[in-house]
Amino acid sequence: MTPRPVLQVENMRVCYRKQGRALAAVDGVSFELYEGERLGIIGESGSGKSTLAWALMRLHKPPTTTEAEGVVLNGVNLLALNDEQMRQTRWSQISLIPQGAMNSLNPVMKIRHQMADAIKSHESGWSSNRITDHIGSLLGRVGLPASVADMYPHELSGGMKQRVCIALGIVLEPKVIIADEPTSALDVVVQRVVIQTMNEVQQQLKSAMIIIGHDMGLMAQCVDRLAVMYAGRIVEIAPVRSFFRDPQHPYSRLLISSLPSPEEKRELKGIPGMQPSLLDLPSGCAFHPRCPLAYEHCTRTTPDLHKVDEQRAAACHLAKEYTA
């Protein structure tokens, strides 16, 4: 029985205003997230991946606009909800593990209160010791002593703060958890512990997870499917094994080849040029200035994300077309 999709995003566009122009940080992104699945979203800085995460929770403020044909979470179109309904949905159905855990916790409030107010703002019936027990067990599940509940953020190390954010993210056992570069500021061993904790917690809850990052190695370790974003668009989406063995989009190939492999000391080859600024996007395929295979057609028409086979899709004129 194929797992049913928990989240369906259809043609999402997020535009913000800069120097008087509307710029599409996320330009027509569509994907599906299945129950219990871990979807990775990878891209260089400025590719729009964090913008997408915050847009899913409708957290962008005017003048930034968020439109989409549909953002359906468990059958409910989030864009159709009014503010109060959306507020209720946040954290109970879809939660977020922030990037900079360093200052994502309120510095003058105990960890206990920062977890309790998330509960109280959604569940009115809970007694206070039920909340206290719940917080104690959550901290235990992320490998932290219950005494952390009565500490302030400045008394915790970076790794501990990040795990508090994970505990916070699952306090209402949401259907979808978005992790926005959860370990970018952490050392490699602490990063492994945080990822290990996140995976265990996600398996227990059976909730779907979107993990956003820029480290290919990390993605290979903790996602089932991987989407690559470039200049606000998804250019490739595929199961993680076939992605690494047989990347379809030239950008994915270059990303993989630029990685230092611990085996042998081969000559390092980075990707020439840099991520285009949204102010002067190249015509046609946004990657063509840096693409070794680019030809005349690429500079004119923007390739759409088309299926390459049953489970994979790529946005490149050269990628093969899937015929069912």
Binding site: S92, L105, N106, P107, M109, H122
Partner: protein
């Protein structure tokens, strides 16, 4: 961490008082002629027939012990100041300076403390609302109004208020703290009379200060609104009110309380001058009269009391601050 912070703050309190007393001791000696000469010269020039001039001179000569070495004079002066023995008032001799001050102090404390607290509370709340993106847009209109108000000194605003509300519209009395010639007794009428007299002075202090606090708070709120923990609070689906009070304002309050401690000096000076404009019988009015009659030691006494009250207020704020910011107490 906590005790070291306390010791430092109390140490600072005494340092400020000793520096103030030292200035009061040193400045007159830098002036041409000696302080007693200055006092006598004023008395003679006004040809005032003051009975007992000789005893005043004798008490001051003993008081200053002009032949004592400067160091002993200084030490005696400091110990006297610390024990609030501030010498004799020239005009109301033999009344002690500290007693005249003690009579006037309750009025100043009442007026100053009440209006400053109102102004700080109101201004902080308004400033927070103005900087809050989801606050009603109408509040933005307040900002251009608050700005000029906070630029104008208290006593100038006081003069305008007297002219408009007291002189022309006659809603409030022109000055003083109570209707003259009423005896002080604990009755509702008397209290109402005091309040009626206190409204204009308090209003001028509050109006002149509320703008300053609002703009200070707006500045800190703007930085706090951009912080990550606020974005996460919103992502957590907390209510707008909860985010505004316990996440945004709670954090923006910290620099605001520090700026309260710094601004107290200016607040006290401004309020003292408001008393002069309203003939309000606090230490400001006492100072004005002392200057008129060159009652030299009362002037020094008032100056010392000003510093004492500010240093005390700063100490209180410093003791309250760790309770607001756990990063200091723990």
């Amino acid at each position: 961490m906590k005790s070291r912070y306390l010791v430092r703050r109390i140490g600072m309190f005494f340092a400020v008082i000793i520096v103030a007393a030292t200035l009061n001791f040193a400045i007159p000696r830098l002036a041409p002629g000696d302080p007693i000469g200055a006092v006598l010269e004023v008395l003679i020039s006004r040809g005032q027939a003051v009975d007992g001039v000789e005893s005043i001179i004798a008490s001051y000569r003993e008081r200053f012990g002009l032949n004592d070495p400067i160091a002993t004079q200084y030490l005696r002066y400091i110990t006297n100041s610390l024990t609030l023995d501030l010498g004799y008032s020239v005009t109301f001799f033999p009344q002690k300076v500290e007693d005249t001050l003690m009579d006037a102090l309750p009025w100043t404390i009442g007026l100053l403390a009440v209006s400053t607290l109102i102004a700080f509370g109101l201004g902080t709340f308004l400033g927070a609302l103005v900087a809050w993106p989801r606050a009603p847009r109408a509040l933005q209109g307040l900002v251009p109004l608050l700005m000029p108000l906070s630029a104008v000194p208290y006593y100038l605003l006081a003069l305008i208020l007297i002219y408009v509300l007291a002189f022309t519209l006659k809603i409030f009395p022109l000055g003083g703290a109570y209707t003259p010639a009423t005896k002080a007794e604990v009755s509702v009428g008397y209290v109402l009379d005091i309040i009626n007299h206190a409204v204009l002075p308090a209003l001028s202090i509050v109006l002149a200060q509320v703008g300053f606090w609002a703009l200070g708070m707006r500045g800190t709120m703007v930085t706090v609104v951009g912080e990550d923990y606020l974005a996460l609070a919103e992502a957590k689906g907390l209510s707008n009110r909860r985010i505004f009070f316990s996440y945004a304002m709670r954090n923006a309050l910290l620099p605001q309380v520090t700026s309260l401690a710094i601004a107290l000096g200016g607040v006290v000076s401004g309020s003292v001058l408001v008393e002069v404009v309203f003939n309000y019988p606090g230490i400001g009015w006492l100072l004005y009269n002392a200057l008129q009659s060159s009652d030299y030691f009362v002037v020094q006494g008032v100056s010392f009391f000003l510093v004492l009250s500010v240093a005390l207020a700063v100490l209180i704020v410093d003791l309250v601050y760790p309770r607001l910011d756990p990063r200091i107490s723990r």
